[in-house]
């Protein structure tokens, strides 16, 4: 299958990357090139094959329920591009 300009537009919005109208055609071609290439996987018979979930075959570790972190306002806001007091700020969201 092959991506149209509209598909690219939609994906670009999903990924929140502004794609200027004039780039869409070129982008669609690039992406189609790569997608067309990876589609050779269709040749492989994967019936009764489990998808790989993790390369390490160990049990998931679990942490104890203790507060060991937080109270580091200075550290979590140190790099904020638009700090407002203790808050991060973004363009007003209407809901």
């Amino acid at each position: 299958m092959s991506l149209t300009k509209d598909d690219v537009q939609k994906i670009a919005f999903l990924a929140r990357i502004r794609a200027p109208e004039e780039r869409l055609e070129a982008l669609a071609q690039e992406l189609n090139g790569i997608i067309g290439w990876v589609e050779q996987l269709a040749e492989v018979n994967t019936d009764a094959v489990e998808p790989m979930t993790s390369v390490v075959d160990i049990a998931s570790p679990m942490r104890d329920d203790v507060v060991t972190d937080g109270a580091i306002l200075d550290k979590v806001t140190a790099n904020a591009p638009d700090p407002h007091g203790p808050f991060y700020a973004v363009p007003k969201v209407v809901e």
Binding site: L3, D7, V8, I11, A12, F13, L14, A15, R16, I17, R18, A19, L27, E30, L31, G33, I34, I35, W37, V38, E39, Q40, L41, A42, E43, V44, T46, V49, E50, P51, M52, T53, S54, V55, V56, I58, S60, P61, R63, I72, D74, K75, V76, T77, A78, N79, A80, P81, D82, Y88, V90, P91, V93
Partner: protein, 490 residues
């Protein structure tokens, strides 16, 4: 000075122990070398103050007879993908141009605790996405190597291109790298040094800017196999902060560098023979087989039937994970922000301006293969093929101790070559990606030069947690190859 710059980790440890030099002297030599070779663009951020301070502390420890490890006082380069407390960490991206972490990655912290001296943050492909270090927002890295009789600038490979140039160009004794599909091994091969990717989970991923979580693994770039063992010992180990970190005691890697491979079985995967593979590479590979046989190993052909599907599998899995891992760069809590009228506009403008072309391409591919209606056809399919690739290796390792292959299908190419066609670029990783998908330890050993006088590496791959076997065979290969060539460029 220049002999200081040629020291290995082992050699430096020795000289420091004997008092023939000090960490401060060593460090100053490398700081000078870095300044003299800025044209290579190996570093995004140089940290001479940090280096001198740590060197001084190291010499003081040593004076008290309290050297922390064989790495103590050894000047190294840190790939700029490792978050370093108080030192700008960019991942070679515009979006993190002014990001100064308030924390230290586990691996860089382990090295700091081992006494290693950080000279600076090495250049790389943006978010480690690339095989030639041309996607860095801070400009491409040049290899110190040049073709005989030509002076076109060559790429060092990627993504750990700054690390590779630093070590091969004598700007650091060793360097950290990360390997997602070959990002340590391929640049090592291009620049005539050793590059090692341990078993997935040996090195903690905590504090390393994520590219593809199920593939990313840190490892060393060094001048020798023994150095790789010494440095990996300092980098690796269980970390409770990383759920995928292996909870096992580390073996003594250095002790495994015996070169004694009598009776070991080495597999030669027939699917790694590509039509159109450069004759020099085929010849070196055959030579490698002879070397290992001469050293007492038994070699046999093995089959990894799904090898040809490794690259397409990788180029679904890695972008899928990356598209999600890079969603946090949204201009809200850190990093670049481009203001917009609405929240969505701010996101779109910030990410369009902050990510380079290759990163955007992969993020879009990733979003696409995960999107409704395509998830099963692409992502799930790829994870199934990945299981088959893993099984290929498990079957092979039932019969052999390690596999010998070329590291890369070509020697270093010129800046500007292959840049137009992404897929041609992706093919650089054809021999390294399979081991990444299977999470296996693999190492590239410099083994010879091609007709143009450029280095070529051979790759060894071992089973899960079989690093010791890997070091045994690698040291034998290294001894047989006796690779001593140095670049003229630095």
């Amino acid at each position: 000075m220049s002999e200081l710059r040629n020291l290995t980790i082992a050699g430096a440890a020795d000289a420091l122990a004997k008092g023939e030099t000090s960490s401060v002297e060593l460090t100053d030599a490398f700081i000078a070398a870095i300044e003299a070779n800025r044209n290579l663009n190996a570093f995004i951020t140089e940290t001479p103050e940090v280096a001198r301070e740590r060197a001084k502390a190291s010499d003081e420890r040593r004076a008290k007879g309290a050297a922390a490890s064989p790495m103590d006082g050894v000047p190294i380069a840190m790939k700029d993908l490792f978050c370093t407390e108080g030192v700008r960490t960019t991942a070679a991206s515009h979006i993190l141009e002014n990001f100064v972490p308030t924390y230290e990655s586990t691996v860089s912290g382990n090295l700091r605790d081992a006494g290693a001296v950080m000279l600076g943050k090495a250049n790389l492909d943006e978010f480690a996405m690339g095989s030639s270090n041309i996607t860095s927002y801070y400009g491409p890295v040049k290899s110190p190597w040049t073709r005989k009789g030509a002076n076109v600038d060559l790429v060092p490979g990627g993504s750990s291109g700054g690390s590779a140039t630093a070590v091969s160009g004598g700007l650091a004794i060793a360097a950290t790298g990360t390997d997602t599909g070959g990002s340590i091994r391929q640049p090592a091969s291009f620049t005539g040094i050793v590059g090692m990717k341990p078993t997935y989970g040996r090195c903690s991923r905590w504090g390393i800017v994520a590219f593809a979580s199920s593939l990313d693994q840190a490892g060393p770039l060094t001048k020798t196999v023994e150095d790789a063992a010494i440095m990996l010992q300092a980098m690796a180990g269980h970390d409770p902060k990383d759920s995928t970190s292996l909870p096992f005691e580390l073996p003594d890697f250095r002790a495994a560098c015996t070169g004694d491979i009598k009776g070991m079985k080495i597999g030669i995967p027939k699917e790694y023979t590509l039509d159109g593979m450069p004759a020099d590479i085929k010849a070196l590979w055959d030579q490698g087989v002879k070397w290992l046989e001469a050293a007492g190993a038994e070699t046999r052909e093995v089959s990894l039937p799904h090898t040809k599907y490794a690259l397409p599998t990788y180029y679904i899995v890695a972008p899928a994970e990356a598209s999600s891992n890079l969603a946090r760069y949204d201009g809200v809590r850190y990093g670049l922000r481009v203001e917009g009228e609405t929240l969505d506009e701010m996101y779109e403008l910030t990410r369009a301006a902050g990510f380079g072309a290759e990163v955007q391409r992969r993020v879009l591919i990733g979003a696409y293969v995960l999107s409704a209606g395509y998830y099963d056809a692409y992502y799930v399919k790829a994870q199934k093929v990945r299981s088959l690739i893993f099984k290929d290796f498990s079957d092979a390792f039932a019969d052999v101790d390690a596999l010998l292959t070329p590291t890369a299908p070509s020697a270093a190419f010129a800046l500007g070559e292959k840049m137009d066609d992404p897929i041609a670029m992706y093919l650089n990783d054809v021999f390294t990606v399979p081991a990444s998908l299977a999470g296996l330890p693999a190492i590239s050993v410099p083994a010879g030069l091609d007709g143009d006088g450029l280095p070529l590496g051979l790759q060894l791959i071992a089973g899960v947690c079989q690093e010791e076997k890997l070091f045994r065979v690698a040291s034998a290969l290294e001894a047989a190859a006796g690779f001593t060539a140095r670049p003229g460029g630095a």
